[in-house]
Subunit: 446 residues, 2 copies
Amino acid sequence: MNLQAPQDFAPQSAVAPNRLTATHALEALKTGRLTATDLVKACLQRIEERDDDVRAWLHINAHALEQAAKLDAFPHNQRGKLHGLPIGIKDVFETKDMPTTFNSPNFEGHQPGQDAAVVDLLRAEGAIILGKTDTTEFAAAGRNAATGNPHDTRFSSGGSSAGSAASVADFHVPLSIGTQTGGSTIRPASFCGVYAFKPTFGMVSREGFKIYANTLDTVGWYGRSVADLALLADVFGLKESIKPAPGAATLRIAMSLGPYGDRLQPESVHAMEVAADRLRKNGHEVTQLELHPEFSALDHHHRTILHREGAAAFRNLARRFGSDLHDDFHHRVENRDGRSLPDLRDAYDAAAKARVQFDRLAAQFDALLVPSAPGYAPEGRHPGDPVFNAMWTLLGVPCINVPVSMPDASLPIGVTLTGPRFSDPSLLAAAERLAPLIDRAPSPDA
Amino acid sequence: MNLQAPQDFAPQSAVAPNRLTATHALEALKTGRLTATDLVKACLQRIEERDDDVRAWLHINAHALEQAAKLDAFPHNQRGKLHGLPIGIKDVFETKDMPTTFNSPNFEGHQPGQDAAVVDLLRAEGAIILGKTDTTEFAAAGRNAATGNPHDTRFSSGGSSAGSAASVADFHVPLSIGTQTGGSTIRPASFCGVYAFKPTFGMVSREGFKIYANTLDTVGWYGRSVADLALLADVFGLKESIKPAPGAATLRIAMSLGPYGDRLQPESVHAMEVAADRLRKNGHEVTQLELHPEFSALDHHHRTILHREGAAAFRNLARRFGSDLHDDFHHRVENRDGRSLPDLRDAYDAAAKARVQFDRLAAQFDALLVPSAPGYAPEGRHPGDPVFNAMWTLLGVPCINVPVSMPDASLPIGVTLTGPRFSDPSLLAAAERLAPLIDRAPSPDA
């Protein structure tokens, strides 16, 4: 795999700056061992070399180096939490200084006058918005991202946050922002072999990102370690947890293939077994978990909510653009699959009930181990099946993708750690201990 | 009351165009008895005469007359559903051609590059955005609207949609758009004596309006009749109902002062009794309803959700503006009233349970009759207590304010008709029959 290729940059250092984790890059920036300028240069050079093939980006910030130089001149005592770190933004978030196209032909060159709330927060902490990453159209349907899997570009990088996952996986940028409505953050992370976090629903502002489904859409993000994910969780205010961080030497892990286990490919079953085995061998307790039988209806409910809420989200675009708008969005607005209002109400109510049941169950464990995707990335550019993510999105629970290192595998694959709603910091703390056992690939900056 | 003053405009017509209901204005526009230009002129003249006192507007569209002239030249067979109608927009919705300030000193002159989804839909149907109306800062807290009650400007017009309610009440514009998170659409309608509709949660896109509380914020609107409200419900796609429109001659109405009845002022108790009495005298069945005792906790849950969700909504503004941002928003971001995550989770779960209970109860009736506000508008500019609206907002159910005509009253007062989630068109149909019995004031364009 080309990602294991020898370093071709920054000969004076053991690791090219663009390959550092965000956490390590930040340390190097703080101590002066690295400048934002050198970091941005390394990222831009990598993009230059690779992005004709990978196609992670729809737009690159032409002023990134100027901004880096300014940040380098900043007094250390006035620096934010992300000072000098380049970040990629999924092109469904508004940016005041770059086009926001939603990968939609209807919004080519569209220039909003402001930043989305998360972009605003990132900039306030000194991050450099390196550019906008490719996405399934409106993070919903319509046109696929052009992004190829960095490990083999014949394969998909997943969707909808295709470019955000690929840009981190391919060392273009240490961190990136995505969204999840079905499986749009976690699944691309599994396909591309990076860490990803989808927090508890509602905890991070969606202001200035294109809504698809109001009760599902969630801001998510990518990094190269659990610490990288925790860094952004802190910036976005996810500091409290509904349960304490795990303190015992032995963590209690519940493992489940979920109600859709028969749709898993052998490589995903294998990844789950390998992950569980590595945790057990390192002294943790892994038990099989039975989910409530009603949970098998959650995927259906998810789709009902997705399609009916999509009608509200795309009504004005359908009216404005008519047949110039992709037919997928007219499908939602016209409710072509005939999902009724009683079905919608029942979907909301069943989800609410399942949230209570799941939280009670999950509270008994330090983390739940579940699949991140049906299997390897599919060939082509299809984003893949969201069935192993949609349920957790509907439950609104925090999810972390952890890559399962398997040296002989042709493509990456990950597993998900999850827990009850509002347990984000404790789940991250559990993952910080568990991830190094599951993901034993040599870290690029180890 | 000055609103009963004799007509001072359009001597050739019985009614000044700006005093027409939206539905009647639309009929006159369709048949050519009225032009958009004359309608806009009449509205602008009324604003010119009155708005130094009422202060409903933060910005008036300088191109409204040009736009009206263009619309007048439009072939009849290409006209939209609102062709030529002037509409006021609460200044928390983005408008591409007018500033969007949220009534915040931090956003003076702020110019977004696009229209909010509802603005986009209104324009697509040929409406003329006449201007931006005053609001409580960010429709949340901080600075009050400067708007006075059109019936007596020493009193409040309510909030947060102060200018939207007042502009319709004072005949500046036939229709306007507001929002509701607590009582921000229905309460100002009660105070100002106009019709208002808050639809079922989630049915109308909030794209491009400043979010305060993600699970509460709802687009609402104002008009001069139930038919006016139904006109916009149609444009926004609210065409299906979970229950049939009432067909019987005798409608079954359930009446309840709700769990907070002891906080009602005598005028509000009286308005409820008068409304019930008028319905009974006209042959409808009005029964007293007992709400489940657990419903008394909903106001507390509402506030927990409001404040905790407000933290996510204002985090980036608090970071960007520091002490230049009103302290109310720092209060939310810092969770100064110490609402815990278990409280937040319990609030979500209790609300979900209450939704199911309420829907079952409400399904047995054609409408529920409940208070719209504790009493008359308070003196000054305080938006008033949302306790009689917050519960319905949290339940996500459709609500219609109907003014209760009482010739001797010093200020207007209304009552709310409500029903189960997703019953919007049937509730509007019930209200269309009930409202003329409750609101017996001579219509300005009768």
